[in-house]
Symmetry: C2
Subunit: 193 residues, 2 copies
């Protein structure tokens, strides 16, 4: 009888703790104002060699105008080719790689991108709606970047290649790291080109 009570107590405690953890990941309640980045949740969202942490987010921290991410790309990994209707700034904290970016010279599809080397202690921005891709083209070192976007939460249109029509690019919303805390099932505003 006593053992059954102890087991029930342990199970109840585990249950309460998991509810608390889940609630605190999608609610500002209990999240300290100053946060230790190394203690924040991080995930690869099904992409091996990738790590994402939201440092300041719209769903997690109530940001309305800016969002800040910390992302790590292992050698050989990259983002999808994608565009979004917001401003985006990168600060490269360590490693090196390549930025592919197709400014809107073609009206129907991105077209062959310009290629820029990116490196530790460099910064660049991606103009609104320019299709782009970040790649860790190195062989040994991780590429770590801080990413800043406007108009959160981000609505991403993904391309299979640089010649896919803009109108065929696939909308992913909420984006992978926003899925867990995004409760509103309404479709986003139309950010089509």
């Amino acid at each position: 009888m006593r053992e059954a009570m102890i087991i029930t107590y342990i199970l109840a405690t585990i249950c309460i703790l998991s509810v608390t953890v889940h609630a605190s990941q999608c609610s500002m309640n209990g999240i300290p104002l100053v946060r230790n980045i190394s203690e924040l949740p991080q995930d690869n969202y099904g992409r091996p060699g990738f790590l994402h942490t939201t440092l300041a987010g719209s769903l997690l921290h109530g940001m309305k105008e800016i969002e800040v991410w910390l992302q790590t790309f292992a050698p050989g990994t990259h983002t999808p080719i994608h565009r979004h209707s917001c401003e985006e700034v990168f600060v490269v904290l360590r490693g090196s790689g390549t930025l592919h970016i197709a400014s809107n010279t073609h009206t129907k599809f991105p077209g062959e991108p310009l290629v820029y080397p990116i490196f530790t202690n460099s910064t660049f921005h991606v103009p609104v709606n320019d299709a782009h891709q970040i790649l860790n083209t190195g062989e040994h070192e991780d590429l770590q970047v801080l990413v800043i976007i406007s108009r959160p939460p981000v609505k991403v249109f993904m391309y299979a290649d640089w010649y896919m029509p803009h109108t065929a690019a696939q909308l992913k919303f909420p984006y992978y790291w926003d899925e867990k805390c995004y409760k509103n099932n309404e479709t986003p505003e139309n950010d089509e080109l």
Copy 2:
């Protein structure tokens, strides 16, 4: 005669170079998309022990919705007590210090601020219009932060102390690092509390 020609040539070259440098500091023409942060202009704007670099700016790089700064505070230095009608996120790259922040519990003046330690690899955000101050309270190490704001260029209201009425806070616009490239003399939109 030949010496005079050489001197004239040198003077003309210096003149052309300085015009070019001045133009490139306030124009997107000639600024590369990917920029080496250590080669960007930095200044202390009359504040000893302070260094500011605009990584992505509205006046320098045509940003409309976000702006990113890199700032360094020597031990004992700090920002003014101030507020701005925009969101702001900090990422502490190195060093430690203190955040003083007065959320709007008083309607007439900021009041006694809450005090939070900030440290390497921490992040925090300042809600719109909350009066705040960042201090390097350490004794030996520089405090280096990345600062992200929305609604650039920033319009800063500065307080002499935490008990100065909000209405007496002094507007500084354009802010120090925007002065050089801000050409429009119109007054900003009213962002008063």
